[in-house]
Structures are given as structure tokens and as C-alpha cells.
Symmetry: C2
Subunit: 372 residues, 2 copies
């Protein structure tokens, strides 16, 4: 269980399989985000129809509403959501550190105010681990201290050290709880300071034998070249045997850039959030379906796409749904965008197996950015 | 084409088949309402999954946005909506007469203000017929003058006379246009005055040989016993060979009462509107899924139902979706409610074939109202 097998590489790009309790997934893979136990506007059947292998849910959100106890008594997160394939839960760290002005961090953990009812709550490494165990995802994440993209080295060092101490506590609690149905992954922090990231990576490796690694604290406001620089610096030092989950990424161009730099797993709300805003991914770059030019356009959103949206509806109809504020439009664009990223990940796997990833990436990028 | 065959009757209830250009439907049948060319929150695949045979779209709404010309250039209403089964369009009469204070009626037609952009528009019997022909539904409706449920006899007489004169103009224009791919149905008005209704019915029958009849101006605010009285008075006089479409009905108990009184076809926004409000139809009466009692309820919404919602999700999860304001909840309850009415219509057909409709209806009513 939790075995990761690399099947091919092409330059730094990798393709492989990861065995999880609820199924084996192929990497690279994009995880749709089901913040509150639902990928916004999409049903589990929709997610299967677009080939989702793994879904992420947010521990913070499910903890404050409906509460992990409710989820447990309703059969655990898989049963609750009606999703029988693999799940990953984040630790709540990112959300808690994103709460403006209403949190207090100390060595024990974080005190924060629920965004739902304003109640005071306390998350510690142990609690975050227990909540995730109760939810029952295939992969749980360690509770981490996240700093903004522009944090100076002292701040980033402080958060890294705390994240490492918390990782030990998460791992200890997880060892007490887990019975092989869930694995715990560490999160590498260190801001935009490569030296800190390298040190963090070394110390994580010294702590235990992990089944995967998440890279956190990127894609949080820093310039993109800085993120790429971090990944390029880290990549040669990452143990090949760990699947590498780049948290919070991303947009199509980010996925390509990250696989190019050796990453395997991704999550982001972009496909659903942008879909709800009327923005659709296409191989020729993003399309804003509200634009008047689509009014009588009989073509599908993306002629290369095999999703229900592209197989059934014209751009003209989709524009009508958005202009008329019909809820179906939000779902149809979300569905397409998720399918787009899942197909993109699969194409990258195929190009890697073919040993042609760099050429594929250059061609993909040329087409995608041409229309921008 | 447009042939209606009655297969069985049980008391006044009937079951039969109606042949339409895009397919043959079984009656009694409930039509989900796709006001703006989409049944709110549901895709065509969803509608097929719940067994929808026929969908209604609103001429007024599609005329003001995106305009019937756009629909036509995108391949007609079926192609536009991605719905290849039968469609019915209303005439716009009901909507235009519902516009508060911004319409002017004369013998020629109705001048009104678009709710979308405030522009002045003019609908006449001929225009309403042309717009519906351009949209291309299987069944078009004559342009009628609708009066409120409590209208006095003089007002109702005036509207009935105008509706009859307009019917002649609709029929004349439709004969010029139609080529067998669309039929036109008259709408019987007359308010809550049975004498007027009987006279209207006679005069409609004298005008032409119709393929069906709609009964309008009921379920518009009058007390329910009054509606039932109208239907009971009319039923013995209705030519059995016409399918009878009771417009704007309804709720489960209304469907049963109407089939009991010889009606065949129904449309209503209730299943989708109530679904979006968190109210679900069940054989034991309506359930408000927001209620705290459902918080940890592992049972489906309706244990007798075969829809995706009831087959996949617990009441606890559905409540969570509503409390957390997740869009998926709106769709899942809409889907179930539409399925509920479609199954109800099918059950009534089966009871009619079995010759046991009155007993079935009594039993259904006992269970449905017990929990109220």
C-alpha cells in the first residue's frame, strides 16, 4: 500500500502509479478541490465522467462545518461525499494561516476563529491529525506553518522550524492512530529561500520513511519565476521514490511548468472558480464565454475536448447560460475546466512515456500562449 | 404525427401515448420547465436520467434573451438546449400578462417592456406563432389573454372572447408556416366561470380539428376546490381524443387530483424552485432538508426513489450542502423532485392500466398527507 512506481521519465518529467487504499492513480495527476466535501457544482458522477482519480477536501472547512464527528457518523468522508475513489485531506494549516487577524500561533498550535460562527477553535498538530484520521482520506497532510510568499528569511526559518517540530508530533499521533488505511505526508516549507528548503528536505528525510512529500508555501503570491527557481533547485535533491505534490497549483501553464520540473500531483480551485466566472481553459488559451463574440458561435468551447459540455453545447448556448445567470452554466464550465486539467496531466504522462516531454511542452506552450 | 392513443382508463383517469416529431411520450406526463432554455440546475443528461419525456420552454424569455433569431442560427431550440426529445413552448401570453404595470393590451396584441433591458416589445398572435415556429418546438401554444384567478365574469368573458379571436389568427399564421414538424394547441380560458369554460370549449372545437387542448387560467391564485370544480365540470365535455394539458400544475397532490379528473399533461416550476429552496417531495409529504433533524440522518431523501440523489447521498450530506450553500445541493434536490413527479405520473399510468386508479389515489393521498 502507498507504493509509488515510476514508469518513465523524460528530462525531469515523470509518470508513474501510486497505490492507495481506494484505488491506484496514475501520475502526473490533477486533484479537483472539494473544499466543503463537494467539488463546487460537480457531483461524484461528474467527477468520474471527467476522469478524476483523486479529490482533495479541506480539513479546516469540514471541521468547522459539519464537524468531523458528523462526517464520521455518516460513514466517513468517502461515504459522506459519495466518492469511492482516493481522497486527500489537507491539514488545515493553510486555511488557518489565511484567516486575517483572527488567529494566534504558539508552539502548541493555532487558535483561530471559525469563519462560520465566530467560535474560538484550537488546532494543534495532534488535533489536525486526529481530525483527518476521523475523516478517513487515503492521504493526510501534516499540520504546517505557512508564511506569505514574500516572507524574509528569519520569518521563513521560524515557520520551517515550527513545521518540522509539528511534523514530529503529527507523525507520532498518526502512528498511534493509523492502521494502514491512511498515510501521512510531510509538507516542505521554507518560503522562497532555497537554502531553507534544502535544509527542510534533508531534515524531513531524516525524521522517518515517508510515502510522499508535499511542497507547500509556493504559489502563494511570489512571482512565478521564483517558484520555478525553487522547484529547479529542489528537484535534483528530491528522493525519486516519493510522489511530489505541489500544493495549490494550478493553472494549465503552471501544471506544465511543474511537471517539467519533476512534480507529480497538483490541486487548485482554479478550474472550478474560473469556470464559475465564465472563464474556460482551451488549448489556445483561456476563453471568456461572456464575450459578445460567442453570441452566435456554434462551435464547442474546445473542439479537442471529450467532456459533456464540449460534446453537447455550443459556445452560443454557454454564453446564453452565463448572460441569463443560469446555474447550469457554472457547472458546465467547471466540468470542462476540470476535464481540461485532467487531460493535460494525462497528455503529459503520455509525452513522458514517449520520451518527448520537452518537445511536447514547447509545442503546448506555443499554442496555449499564442492567443493571449 | 401528433396522434394520441388512449390505452386505458380508470374512472376519469387516462393513460395513453402521444406521437410527436421528436419521440412518442406516455401520458400522464409531467414536463419539467426550462424557462430560459434550461431546466434550472439540470443538464439534458440529468433530465434523461430522471426519465423526462417532454420539456417546456418559455417563448417570452427566449424572445427577449437571446432572441429567437439567435436560437435559430444556433440550430433551433432542440440543438440549442442539447435536448433531442420533444419540446413544448408556451405562447408568452402568461408571462406578458404577469408583467406588472408595464403592458398595454389592445385587440392587435400586447405591448410590454422587456424585464431584461426595459425595451418596448410587441407580441401579437401572429408574432407569438412566428417566434414559436422559429424556436421549433414539437408543440406550440396559441397566444392567449390570461386573467387573474379571481376575475369577475365580465372580465373573464372579455379575455375569453379575445383569446378565441386570437386563436383564429394564431391558427391562420401557423397554417402558413407549419409543415408537419410542429402542432399548435389552443388554450381554453374562462376564469373560474364554468359556463364560460363550456362555451369556450365548444367554440374552440368548432374552429378547427386540434391535436390537443391546454387548459389555462387555472392554478393562478384561485382556491384549489374551485380548480377541481372547473375540471370536474369540464371533463365530461372534453373530446376524449385530445390530450389535455393542465398548465402550471403542479405539486404532487395537484397532479393526482388532476389525473383523477381526466388530465394528461402538466408543467410546473415547483420541483426545481422548491428543490432550490431545500424542499423535497417524498411519498410521506414534503421534507425541508435544512431542518436540524436531518443533520446526522444516514437515510436517503426518499427510500423508494431511484434517482442519483437518493441512490448516492444521505439526508445528512444533503443538509450539509444546503447549510454550506453549495450549489450541488440545489441540483440534487431539483433532480430528485423532477424524478418524483415523473415517477408519480408513471405510477398513475400503471394504476390506470390496472383499473385501480381511485383506490391507488386514495392510498397515495393517505400516505402523502399523513405527515403534514
Amino acid at each position: 500500500m502507498f507504493e509509488f512506481t515510476i514508469e518513465a521519465t523524460s528530462s525531469a518529467a515523470r509518470t508513474g502509479t501510486l497505490v492507495l487504499p481506494h484505488g491506484t492513480i496514475e501520475t502526473p495527476a490533477f486533484m479537483p478541490v472539494g473544499t466543503q466535501g463537494t467539488v463546487r457544482t460537480l457531483s461524484p458522477a461528474d467527477l468520474k465522467s471527467v476522469g478524476a482519480q483523486l479529490v482533495l477536501a479541506n480539513t479546516y472547512h469540514l471541521h468547522v462545518r459539519p464537524g468531523e464527528g458528523v462526517v464520521q457518523r455518516l460513514g466517513g468522508l468517502h461515504r459522506f461525499m459519495g466518492w469511492d475513489r482516493p481522497l486527500l485531506t489537507d491539514s488545515g494549516g493553510f486555511q488557518v494561516f489565511s484567516l486575517e487577524g483572527s488567529r494566534r500561533v504558539d508552539e502548541d498550535g493555532v487558535e483561530f476563529q471559525s469563519h462560520v460562527d465566530g467560535s474560538r477553535r484550537h488546532l494543534t498538530p495532534e488535533r489536525a491529525t486526529e481530525i483527518q484520521w476521523t475523516l478517513g482520506a487515503d492521504i493526510a497532510m501534516a499540520f504546517d506553518h505557512v508564511v506569505p510568499g514574500g516572507a524574509d528569511e528569519a520569518t521563513a526559518r521560524d515557520a520551517l522550524e515550527r513545521t518540522l517540530r509539528w511534523l514530529e508530533r503529527c507523525a507520532a499521533r498518526h502512528r498511534e492512530l493509523a492502521d494502514g488505511r491512511q498515510t501521512l505526508w510531510p509538507i516542505l516549507q521554507g518560503g522562497t529561500h532555497l537554502g531553507l528548503r534544502e535544509e527542510g528536505l534533508r531534515r524531513i528525510g531524516d525524521l522517518a520513511s515517508w510515502t510522499g512529500l508535499a511542497i507547500g508555501g509556493l504559489s502563494v503570491g511570489e512571482p512565478k519565476p521564483v517558484m520555478y527557481q525553487m522547484l529547479e533547485g529542489l528537484e535534483p535533491r528530491l528522493p525519486p521514490a516519493w510522489p511530489r505534490y505541489l500544493m495549490g497549483v494550478g493553472f494549465p501553464e503552471d501544471l506544465v511548468a511543474a511537471v517539467e520540473r519533476g512534480m507529480d500531483l497538483f490541486d487548485c480551485v482554479a478550474p472550478t472558480r474560473n469556470g464559475r466566472n465564465g472563464s474556460a481553459f482551451t488549448p489556445d488559451g483561456p476563453v471568456n464565454i461572456r464575450n459578445a463574440e460567442h453570441r452566435e458561435d456554434p462551435r464547442p468551447l474546445d473542439a479537442t475536448c471529450d467532456c459533456e459540455t464540449c460534446g453537447t453545447f455550443s459556445r452560443g448556448y454557454l454564453r446564453h447560460l452565463f448572460v441569463a445567470e443560469e446555474l447550469l452554466g457554472l457547472r458546465l464550465l467547471s466540468l470542462h475546466n476540470v476535464r481540461f486539467l485532467i487531460r493535460l496531466a494525462r497528455e503529459m504522462g503520455a509525452a513522458t512515456r514517449a520520451g518527448t516531454f520537452p518537445r511536447w511542452a514547447a509545442e503546448w506552450r506555443r499554442r496555449y500562449t499564442r492567443s493571449d
